[in-house]
Assembly symmetry: C2
Amino acid sequence: VTRIAVDAMGGDNAPAAVVRGAIEARSSQCELVLVGQTEVIEREVQAAGASLGSDLRLVDAREVVYMNDSPSVVVRRKRASSQAIAIELVKSGEVDAAVSAGNSGAMMALALVILGRTSGVERPAIAAELPIDKGKMVLLLDAGANVDCSPENLLQFGLMGSEFYECVHATPHPKVALLNIGEEEGKGNAAAREAAELLKASTINFVGNVEGSHMLTGEVDVVVCDGFVGNIALKVAEGTVDVMRNILRSEFERSRWRRALGAISRPVFRDLTLRTSYEQYGGAPLLGVDGVCIVSHGRSSYRAIASAIREAEDAVLNGVVAKIRTAIEKPLTPA
Amino acid sequence: VTRIAVDAMGGDNAPAAVVRGAIEARSSQCELVLVGQTEVIEREVQAAGASLGSDLRLVDAREVVYMNDSPSVVVRRKRASSQAIAIELVKSGEVDAAVSAGNSGAMMALALVILGRTSGVERPAIAAELPIDKGKMVLLLDAGANVDCSPENLLQFGLMGSEFYECVHATPHPKVALLNIGEEEGKGNAAAREAAELLKASTINFVGNVEGSHMLTGEVDVVVCDGFVGNIALKVAEGTVDVMRNILRSEFERSRWRRALGAISRPVFRDLTLRTSYEQYGGAPLLGVDGVCIVSHGRSSYRAIASAIREAEDAVLNGVVAKIRTAIEKPLTPA
């Protein structure tokens, strides 16, 4: 049985969406511990028509981490928060993983302080999962935890991302690429050029450089970059989706006829929104911290929470932390 | 009268689209010189039902620069190409500006060798224009010329972009922002943090950091970043537009009813494509070289060529090169 602590207070739709997602994801093989203000959570469990039991337990935490809380302040002053206590339960071995839809910077800072890094990892990373088509995902890391990265950091991101992808998406030897400004070898800034050499010599299935335009086409499984570039790439993608939706909407409002067309096409647009709402999918694993921790988007729906919980379960069952440790120990293929 | 040299052989649709664009853009106030294989160009002029004259002249150039030619090879071996000769005409004073839809890296390398840098400029930049709504553009620089940038380089990009935007878009004191991973001060990697300080102390209207998600919303006019980040941001935006179009198409193909809806909505999609085809707009000015040089997208239509020519005319009439020189000389507001 896998046991997972869920931060019931984190995220814009907490606790309702979190509690509902946990109810959806629990099973006889996966026991969940909801952490937070127990009276509030109990009310939500009742409202959902569910009941507590061995597969759905509560642990009290009085404090709440907010989205705009500074990670360093959370680490110093909010150690009694639901997010911190969820991670403490991983540390003490009471659970196998922690999931939160709260502040990702705070989650990373708490995980670093409470769990520490996996042996050999220089810089843990936040890995973002981007849906590219039904069921298929691209894992992009680092998504913002480390703004200045050495080539060695980038190599480790590739190793960690490859292990996670393999564990959670059941894909042996996932294709790992370096986000760069050209596909040819030797392209990019100094860090990228050196990182490409290291990745090429490593044990993983490195397929070379990928350009921004091909990041989301499904040609590669794992995309490696520093946290500055990764955060900007992610947000440009999100922003472009919004701009496209707005343009599409305005084009369907330009005349009475088009408005009528738009009205009867509404189910199509609903499906489009569903397929392009990054916040509605999976989670962002923290890779390189010594335990399974997954952050899901602040705007997570209950479905996204359930999916993050299932992902945490897969990561635990496949021993991703041990696999990352092994990969980091021997990163390069013997010559 | 403004005189502009146009590289008739550059771009995927050359020479037809280039010649047609030039015919469209010429006027009694704007004389154009088409540079390339004269017999080929003459045929295109005739095919377009136009004729040569003082407002549309030819200069012969035998060689052609191809999209995959390496810039350094072009500089050494293709000095008799249409792209090189268009820039030579700027150098000799026979024309006031050069426009090409060809290889942008080669154009930058040739401009650096033939025209040199504007006095005081450390690193010239390629500035990309992104359409965000009817008529409105965002200027993003550097779009890929410089992969490793110092804070001082980024300051100069801000100064140059501001002057160009003001000259060509008739916007006094355009809003300049730094592409970053958070809006708060102190965010970002080391170069970004220092650059923000310099931009804040400069003469331009610096409005602070902008995140990738807000780059294309029209809140800012000029976006500053290094060429590595800029190239990735641009290509992620382009790639996301393609992914969205594919998803939209597939959603309108999921059933017979939806296919019918899609068929009658075709004019809407055509307008959507028109509004989101980055290659169909404006040009990418090379800023910081000592002369007006504009590259337009390789896939430029004749409309895009005409628009790049008009932009070059505006840049010349408003003396953008001299304005950049002045701005670079005194970048900071006296304390």
